[in-house]
């Protein structure tokens, strides 16, 4: 079990055994248990034996009191402190959400490659300033559209990018209004980054007036989702090259996000989510420090995307512990001194794991509860809400409106954001926050003992842990020990609903392939060969991969060809059943 190695199953009750009874409160507690609660339990029993938390399955006691804090050695100044001050448990922001609410963003749902530019224009017309650049699976996985593996995928989940020409075409956008672009194309990162830079150059966009955000936290991909190309250590090197290139040439851009939400969507419990994503961040940091950068310089660039599912209290405590652990790691482990390095930057979002295909309106209740938990946990800079109907409908206008409204309802109608960290001091919340913190630190120690996140990934540790959680959760849903309304509880007969899939005419794929093959004929092949050789050389020698990739994309070497040049040197990652988690 990954769980809480050091987590005290029952820290308080130990302290409460009669011979250790030390305070009047202890006596009072024991008396309550014996004389007041005891008879009730004896008479009516309890709904569950034992009660357990939603995600971690830790025991939940009937009552939390100051004794629990005492047993955990809780110290207000040390454990929570003040907003905007170390250890930032209460908030990284000195005034919480009182000066400004978090940025409310909205996931727009599926995209179709050929429509991307059109939709992007539409969204800019709606007043949005930021966009997510989505690629199809072939591009994300580093293949050209005419690769046999790409069949059926070209242009489907996003843009098909085979060459700089494709991206220039897609960038037919009003860049005076576009201030922020996020790219999630991680595995072929130097190629992707080079393409974007070259296309921006071609459009005459001033890189200082604009923020490119690349996700780039590639190590997560090896634990779940699976959009990797090269063996993990080369994936890390590539990410580090891109990070380094960006902070040198475009220090206002955002070179990394660790999407720990992917871990929890892959069923990581909160302790695993934090421990895995933080140790992955540490691995990325170590790689940067090895290249001579300082912690105070690189740490503020780190950004996380997390969220809260239906594990209400664990989610809230996870966000609180997240801030504190990051601060501790930066200060204790890396001796960071700048506050910016110690303030974790987080975007949070309600989860999609518990959204159901059945009775979709129920998902609105779920999203509201999860968004409330995000707010109570301190959100971070931004919150996004998924769509309640995401499981089966195109982003219908109504679903988008409801999704946006959920955040406004939580922010403006409930008052939960009006005082900073309102649940601090709750005996339960502080106990659970502390337990999560301890368990995460223990798990991180364990990962470090394996040699860090990279080593843990190479030997399949994260993957196996996630696979176990996935199977356990599935089993619990099937045997009914975990209830999900509409799925195994309060089920009623209803029409079968489905997940729609974009069907793209085969011509789209054929046209893309034709364009690509035509380009290969007309370009200067000699320049391409020289450029690809330079990419191979850089891959081999360890110099930064972005500059030779820039040359290559400008010579119209294709996306797949440049990725292949790196494949020649790095090899490809083939996880086996163990390291894939299966």
């Amino acid at each position: 079990m990954a769980i809480p190695n050091r987590h005290p199953d029952n820290p308080v009750r130990d302290a409460l055994t009669p011979e250790r009874s030390v305070s009047p409160l202890t006596d009072a507690f024991n008396a309550w248990q014996q004389n007041t609660q005891g008879p009730e339990v004896a008479k009516r029993g309890e709904r569950q034996t034992p009660f357990k938390t939603q995600a971690l399955h830790w025991p939940v006691h009937p009552l939390y009191t100051p004794l629990d804090l005492e047993a955990a050695g809780f110290d207000y100044q040390r454990d929570v402190g003040f907003p905007g001050e170390y250890p930032y448990t209460r908030s990284v922001n000195p005034n919480g959400n009182r000066s400004a609410l978090w940025t409310m963003a909205q996931v727009t749902g599926f995209g179709r490659g050929t429509d991307w530019a059109k939709r992007a224009r539409f969204m800019l017309d709606q007043g949005l300033q930021g966009l997510i650049l989505e690629h199809d699976l072939a591009t994300t996985n580093g293949y050209d559209s005419d690769d046999p593996l790409a069949e059926g995928e070209v242009g489907r989940a996003g843009l098909a990018i085979d060459s700089l020409e494709d991206l220039e075409r897609a960038f037919d956008l009003p860049f005076d209004r576009l201030k922020y672009l996020m790219s999630v194309c991680n595995a072929p990162q130097p190629v992707n980054l080079a393409m974007i830079i070259a296309a921006l150059e071609a459009k005459g966009v001033d890189p200082k007036q604009f923020v490119l955000h690349i996700v780039n936290g590639i190590l997560i991909e090896y634990t779940c989702v699976g959009r990797y190309i090269y063996p993990p250590k080369h994936g890390l090197r590539i990410a580090t090259d891109c990070f380094e290139y960006m902070i040198e040439h475009h220090p206002n851009w955002a070179p990394i996000s660790i999407i720990s939400a992917q871990l929890y969507a892959a069923r990581a419990n909160p302790v695993q989510e934090l421990a895995f994503s933080l140790s992955i961040a540490l691995q990325h940091i170590d790689a940067l420090l090895e290249r001579g950068h300082s912690i105070d310089k690189v740490a503020p660039y780190f950004h996380f995307v997390t969220g809260i599912d239906m594990d209400f209290f664990e989610g809230i405590c996870k966000l609180r512990a997240f801030r504190k652990i990051w601060a501790r790691l930066m200060r204790e482990r890396y001796k960071a001194t700048r506050p910016e390095a110690m303030k974790v930057r987080v975007m949070s979002s309600p989860g999609t794991m518990s959204l159901t295909l059945q009775q979709p309106l129920n998902n609105i209740s779920r999203l509201a509860i999860m968004a409330t938990a995000c707010a109570l946990g301190g959100v971070g800079e931004t919150m996004t809400t998924p769509l309640h109907d995401e499981a089966h409908a195109l982003p219908a206008d109504e679903a988008i409106r409801v999704g946006a409204a959920i955040q406004h309802i939580v922010a403006h109608e409930t008052g939960v954001a009006d005082t900073i960290d309102p649940l601090a001091g709750s005996y339960y919340v502080e106990t659970l926050t502390r337990q999560i913190e301890d368990a995460v630190m223990t798990e991180i120690d364990k990962i470090m003992a394996m040699g860090g996140a990279l080593a843990a990934i190479e030997r399949g540790y994260f993957q196996r842990e996630l696979a176990r959680e996935q199977c356990d959760r599935n089993r619990a849903l099937e045997d009914g020990s975990r209830k999900l309304v509409g799925v195994n509880h309060l089920v009623h007969a209803e029409e079968r609903r489905e997940i729609p899939i974009f069907k793209l005419a085969d011509e789209v794929e054929a046209e893309q392939i034709e364009r690509l093959q035509e380009l290969r004929k007309r370009r200067d092949q000699n320049a391409v060969d020289v450029a690809l050789a330079a990419v191979r050389d850089a891959a081999r020698s360890g110099t930064n991969l972005v500059p030779p990739c820039l040359v290559a994309v400008k010579a119209y070497a294709t996306h797949g060809e440049i990725c292949n040049a790196m494949r020649d040197v790095f090899g490809v990652h083939h996880p086996d059943a163990q390291t894939a988690g299966v």
Binding site: L137, A138, T140, N141, Y143, P148, L149, A150, E151, G152, E153, R156, A157, C224, V225, G226, R227, A266, R267, L357, A467, Q470, C471, N474, E478, V487, R496, E498, I499, P500, I501, F502, K503, L504, H574, P575, D576, A577, A580, G581, V582
Partner: protein
């Protein structure tokens, strides 16, 4: 000792093309193993021909494809065709994942014998395979 004492259902689980979602295939692999089946996993990013060759080499009874991308209409008919071509048309070809109802008739015509749509319980799949296997063994025995 019955005639089937040493028989054990062998299932090839495959992921075709670029679809790299593994949660479904992980959960199924474990459920099948726990039901006593021998599961062979191809890994990711396989072509239809690779999967067909693997099915022949492993002499599996069942080929199961987990599909969470849109390319199933390309890959699955192709796989069925390769299996037939390679003399492995007798293997049970099934699929699961995100497959719209409207695609099912066409896939069935192409030779995919059963499709489990999103949300199917692992128990349903195990039961289906157990029933199919019992029928196959019975047919073999009565056939001599």
């Amino acid at each position: 000792m019955t005639a089937f004492a040493n028989r054990r259902l062998r299932v090839l689980l495959a992921k075709l093309g670029m679809d790299t979602h593994t949660i479904g295939v992980t959960v199924i692999a474990h459920a099948l193993r726990d039901a006593g089946f021998e599961v062979i996993f191809t890994g990711l990013k396989q072509t239809a021909e690779m999967v067909a060759n693997t099915a022949v080499q492993e002499d599996v009874d069942v080929v199961g494809v987990s599909s969470l991308s849109a390319a199933h209409m390309k890959h699955l008919p192709k796989l069925a065709e390769f299996l037939r071509q390679k003399g492995a048309g007798d293997k049970l070809l099934i699929a699961g994942g995100v497959v719209p109802l409207e695609d099912i008739p066409q896939l069935e015509r192409a030779g995919v014998q059963k499709i489990f749509t999103m949300g199917t319980e692992t128990k349903t799949i195990v039961d289906y395979l157990q029933t199919w296997w019992a029928a196959k063994l019975a047919a073999e025995q009565s056939g001599g």
